[in-house]
């Protein structure tokens, strides 16, 4: 089962790299991951930048989770 989990996570990470590589090719129809994040961060509810708070907050929590906990 441990091998299944490792294989699953590695597959996902490799696919992240592959899709990013495909997105960076000339005339690609796939947006880069940065563009997807930027698009999500545009989401606002009234004056509140909900998407921006969510994405930045999630990344902040990621760092704390991996490096402090």
């Amino acid at each position: 089962m441990r091998l299944v989990a490792i294989t699953g996570f590695l597959t996902a990470l490799v696919l992240f790299a592959v899709v990013e590589w495909a997105a960076r090719r000339e005339n690609s129809r796939i947006p880069t991951f940065g563009d997807v994040c930027a698009y999500v961060m545009r989401y606002e509810v009234g004056p509140v930048p909900v998407g921006r708070i969510a994405v930045i907050g999630f990344w902040w929590w990621m760092g704390w989770h991996f490096f402090a906990r």
């Binding site: 299944v4 989990a5 996570f9 990470l13 696919l15 495909a22 947006p31 698009y39 930045i56 760092g63």
Partner: protein
């Protein structure tokens, strides 16, 4: 006259260029890589550094890069790695993140014990964070 709520720029400013940002992020990563998990210093450092970057990212005073107004249909390809990762993370978490079926962070913990790998991972986190706050 309407005021521009936020600035956006495609031309990076001097402090926004890799020649400036990479050494600073590398220096901060080397410090972070020396701080062991569960220590007060590691908590304060990651919360403080992340807080500073979050403040920059949420402040409308800092220039941001142009944002795509819409995503192309190819954006759906991103769902493939996201869903695979999400399914495995959810499954391992719901089953208790045991040694024989660990979550991603449990798998990463032993790797992050070494200061070199920890500093490299810290750099990746900060680099991505710096990229996010400028979008």
């Amino acid at each position: 006259m309407d005021q521009q709520p936020e600035l956006s720029a495609d031309v990076p400013r001097a402090w926004d260029r890799p020649v400036f940002s990479v050494p600073i992020l590398a220096f901060l990563s080397l410090i972070g890589g020396q701080l062991p998990s569960f220590s007060t210093a590691a908590n304060l450092y990651s919360i403080g550094l992340g807080g500073a970057l979050a403040w920059v990212g949420l402040s409308p005073r800092f220039p941001r890069r142009a944002v795509p107004q819409r995503l192309t249909a190819g954006a759906g390809w991103w769902l493939v790695p996201v869903l695979i990762f999400g399914v495995f993370e959810a499954a391992t978490f719901l089953l208790g993140s045991r040694d024989d079926f660990p979550t991603f962070s449990k798998l990463a913990d032993p790797l992050l014990e070494g200061s070199l790998v920890r500093s490299a991972a810290y750099f990746a986190w900060l680099w991505a964070f710096w990229g996010l706050v400028r979008r």
